[in-house]
């Protein structure tokens, strides 16, 4: 069940109606927990045990940590239990085959043939997200930054809360758990804002991302056939697709949570307008980048050492961040490109200074980010290399031109490109200038509702006929 499916709408309407009809906060929480478990069970009910196992372990461990600390005992061993359990689970379900395959290739390269052992492992939906979420909670308790929660069901709801369960944002316990104690009134919910955010996410995902995916899919499927110009268009399209896909999902998650009276953290802040790669990571998948900063980069020592020590930490953080996205070397290379770019940027600031040539910096940042997307998306390293050469030195591997969505090739592709992108760009800029908030203040409330109805119908009409799954669900 994904957010852009009709059955999610039915599911959400039922959850929404019952949630607000219940008078007691405890009952509401139980209802949301049941709904969340049902939502996750729709993917694969067997993994309910997995998510419950992760939640139970970290809930129990964090209580042990707190008790041990109160008793003056050591707490590290309990933290290790959590880390081993969470990373072990993640490693098994997500990386087992990857590590085995890589080891076999290495041994074969060394002339030591070994038999290949691979398992048919189904990747549980959202495992990367909920594992990071439960780990961050335990680490916060270990660091003494958070009190362990006593109520098991509250903690289970925090882990399984359906709007953010399968693709984030990675909500911190310190942000979410206190909200569970407050009984909310429906009158306090800004329905226009919540609905607007959900709708904006739906448009990003179902209209823009799904529509612009076609030319990207076409070229990434066989890049060796296409001209450098077509490859550039495909990279451009994929960059828009992944942003609209993922930030669209986040917007829908935040909007859905808001309609239920909960606030989730912001996950994107116009990342392609970033003035540097460091700035990009403050704007892209913010809940992951702050997680990596707080729990990995800082744990590695952060910038509390020499220049090279900091660079090493940056590289390690980005390499592991890349690997978090998927069990493949392409993700590691993607992380490496970002790591190198961050290191170069740090050196640039040291030598030249910050804030110089902002327009040029934006272009270079966007160019680098798009280069990295090639490795993120390409099917093979060979494909990625072919496309990277086209992107960097404009070398055309083939003569074929991409058709921008494919009913016919009669019309000049730039026209369709412009028709889609110009309004998108205008909307993007207007939203960046907070025009939508200004409109809400200026327009009477009934008119805003009417407009939302109009926009909903337009969104439904303009979504392409083929629905695509969210890209980040595979992570």
């Amino acid at each position: 069940m994904i957010f852009s499916e009709p059955r999610f709408l039915v599911f959400f309407l039922v959850v929404f109606a019952v949630h607000w009809a219940l008078q007691s906060n405890a009952l509401r929480k139980h209802w949301l927990l049941a709904a969340s478990l049902f939502f996750y069970g729709c993917w694969d009910w067997r993994f309910l045990f997995l998510i419950a196992g992760a939640a139970t372990t970290d809930w129990f461990v964090s209580l042990r940590i707190e008790n041990a600390r109160a008793a003056g005992k050591k707490t590290k061993s309990w933290l290790l239990v959590s880390l081993i359990y969470n990373l072990g689970t993640l490693g098994f379900f997500k990386y087992f085959n990857f590590f085995v395959d890589s080891a076999v290739v290495l041994f074969e390269w060394l002339g030591l043939p070994v038999s290949r052992v691979t398992l048919e492992i189904t990747l549980p939906a959202g495992i990367s997200f909920f594992t990071f979420q439960t780990m961050s909670y335990t680490i916060d308790v270990y660091r003494g930054e958070l009190k362990a929660v006593r109520g098991y069901l509250d903690f289970l709801l925090y882990v399984t809360f359906f709007p953010q369960l399968v693709a984030g944002p990675i909500v911190r316990a310190s942000t979410f758990l206190p909200q569970l104690d407050v009984k909310r009134k429906f009158e306090d919910v800004d329905v226009h804002l919540a609905l607007g955010q959900f709708l904006s996410g739906f448009i990003k995902k179902s209209v823009v991302a799904d529509m612009i995916a076609r030319p990207a899919d076409e070229v990434f499927a066989a890049p060796q056939d296409y001209s450098a110009g077509s490859i550039a268009i495909a990279v451009f399209c994929y960059s828009i697709q992944i942003y609209c896909d993922f930030s669209g999902y986040s917007d829908m998650a935040i909007g859905a949570a808001r309609l239920l009276g909960y606030e989730l953290c912001r996950n994107f802040n116009f990342p392609y307008l970033a003035t540097s790669i460091t700035d990009f990571w403050r704007r892209w998948h913010m809940s992951l980048s702050t997680w990596l900063r707080d729990y990995l980069y800082i744990s590695l020592g952060g910038n509390r050492g020499s220049r090279w020590f900091t660079h090493r930490n940056l590289m390690l953080t980005m390499l592991l961040g890349g690997l978090w996205h998927g069990a493949g070397w392409n993700f590691v290379i993607w992380g490496a490109i970002h790591g190198i770019a961050l290191v170069v940027h740090k050196e640039w600031i040291r030598v030249v200074g910050a804030g110089r040539m902002p327009f040029f910096s934006r272009l270079v940042t966007l160019y680098t980010v798009m280069l990295a997307w090639i490795f993120f998306r390409a099917r093979t390293f060979g494909d990625a290399w072919t496309m990277a050469k086209a992107w960097v030195v404009l070398e055309s591997p083939g003569a074929k031109e991409v058709t921008l969505w494919s009913w016919s090739a009669e019309h000049v592709m730039w026209e369709r490109f412009a028709i889609l992108l110009v309004p998108l760009l205008v909307l993007h800029v207007l939203t960046n200038l907070n025009t939508h908030l200004w409109l809400r203040r200026v327009l009477p409330s009934p008119l805003v509702t009417l407009l939302l109805g109009c926009v909903s119908a337009m969104a439904l009409a303009f979504m392409p006929l083929e629905a695509r799954p969210f890209i980040y669900f595979q992570f």
């Binding site: 019309h411 009417l450 109805g453």
Partner: protein, 462 residues
């Protein structure tokens, strides 16, 4: 509460405003894969007297030029066009027929319709397919819901089928996914193009299945030879006349009866055909038998009486005829359609040629008494249908009749077929004395032999 109702109403009003306007901006009942044929028939419909409707089986299986040639050989020349489209099911065909009736070319005399199931989820979970958006109207919605209710499937399956129908209807009402068409329209209009743009239709609508490179079809074709034993088994099972229940969404005999009435009311004779296949995914033999009580049905998915259609080499895969198979089928269908006139409703669902009781003849004098008006209904099959003067004897002279002549030769008046089962003639009569009755007989001849003669009919004096 009041505020809630107000806001909900406003929200829905906003949606309705856009939906209504989109319907105005983008009516496009046929746009994508159907547009060429639809536009072709809109522009060239007057050239044809016979249209074929149905799914890919008909689309790839019926060659109009071969069919027409055979019909001409059989003495009932036709000019036909293959209007079938891949993926069409009975409710989709109903939508096409509505369109044809609304744009009826004057020349159109018969619609040969593939009898198929009312399968509701041909596109699986792809609820917003072009087909579901385009092949839709409120009539079709009710027909589909009725089919679901009438189907002999368990309640759970019925609920699923109903869900599909509702989703298709909702997606149609909301014009889901038509935004890209609108943008395409804007561009095309800016280029001064007529919409929807059509291309020439080759081979009068027939397409060789070998030219279709859809992966699932290519795969089915490649797998077909290795599955011969399996499909031969299915064939013998079919030949055993096992009752085969309706597939996936039922068989709506009532809808087909209504459709036939609608077509007949505008002068189009429907002939339903169950296409031959090696697969057994059809479709309610019981339903076919029920329909055949009132409309003409050729059940060719029955290998026992239709052996020529079950040559393995003629098939591209279990469901589709290859080019050679299509030629064989087209000739065979022509024979059976001509033969079709002899079938009485409810008599049989598999046509073996066997002349039944002679059809009804009607004769009358014209108002001025100078012409004889003849009509025959329920005509049989192939070949010549003539009226001959009976006992009194007569001789044809320059289009008129000499009745004073004594015994043979008798006067023979050929009838001209208007529909397959109806023929008429108006002939000037010179020498019948006023006050004298004449005797007429309807004679049917096949391959030069008289195969049926009606009882003598006495026409009152003029």
């Amino acid at each position: 509460m009041k505020s809630w109702v107000l806001h909900l109403s406003l929200f829905l009003a906003g949606m309705a405003f856009i939906v209504v306007n989109l319907h105005d901006v983008e009516p496009l009942p046929f746009w994508s894969w159907s547009r060429n044929k639809v536009n072709w028939v809109a522009e060239h419909g007057e050239e044809y007297d016979t249209l074929f409707f149905g799914s890919s089986r008909m689309h790839y299986g019926l060659k109009p030029d071969v069919f027409d040639a055979r019909m001409a050989e059989l003495g009932t020349p036709t000019k036909s066009f293959n209007f079938a489209l891949s993926g069409m099911r009975m409710h989709d065909v109903a939508h096409m027929l509505d369109w044809v009736v609304a744009h009826k070319p004057q020349s159109l005399k018969r619609a040969v319709i593939e009898l198929h199931s009312f399968e509701q989820n041909i596109r699986g979970h792809q609820w917003f397919s072009d087909q579901d958006l385009e092949m839709h109207s409120s009539d079709v919605f009710w027909m589909r819901m009725q089919s679901v209710v009438l189907s002999n499937t368990p309640a759970v399956d019925k609920a699923k089928q109903a869900q599909y129908v509702l989703m298709h209807s909702a997606s149609n009402a909301l014009r889901l996914g038509q935004g890209s068409r609108i943008t395409q329209d804007w561009i095309a209009r800016a280029h001064g193009e007529r919409l929807p743009k059509a291309y020439d239709v080759e081979d009068r609508g027939w397409q060789s299945v070998a030219s279709v490179q859809l992966p699932h079809m290519v795969q089915a074709h490649e797998d077909f030879p290795s599955q011969r034993e399996h499909f031969e088994r299915q064939l013998s099972w079919k030949a055993g006349k096992a009752p085969i229940p309706a597939l996936n969404g039922g068989f709506n005999a009532e809808a087909i009866r209504k459709q036939a009435s609608m077509l007949r009311a505008v002068g189009i004779e429907p002939i339903y055909v169950v296409m031959p296949t090696y697969s057994t995914d059809f479709f309610g033999r019981d339903g076919v038998a029920e329909v055949a009580k009132e409309v003409r049905v050729l059940e060719l998915d029955d290998p026992a009486p239709n052996r020529p259609l079950y040559d393995w080499a003629g098939y591209y895969d279990a469901s589709h005829l290859g080019a050679e198979g299509a030629a064989v089928f087209s000739r065979y269908l022509a024979d059976r359609i001509v033969e079709c006139g002899s079938l009485q409703f409810g008599a049989a669902t598999s046509p073996h040629y066997a002349p039944l009781a002679p059809p009804a003849l009607a004769a009358a004098w014209s108002v001025d008494g100078q012409q004889l008006q003849l009509s025959a209904d329920g005509l049989p099959f192939v070949g010549d249908v003539v009226v001959q003067f009976g006992d009194a004897g007569a001789q044809a002279v320059d289009g008129g009749l000499e009745l004073a002549v004594a015994q043979p030769p008798k006067a023979v008046i050929p009838l001209v077929r208007e529909l397959l089962y109806r023929a008429t003639a108006t002939v000037p009569v010179a020498n019948v004395p006023a006050g004298e009755a004449i005797t007429l007989q309807l004679v049917t001849m096949f391959e030069g032999k008289v195969v049926a003669v009606s009882a003598p009919m006495k026409l009152a004096p003029r």
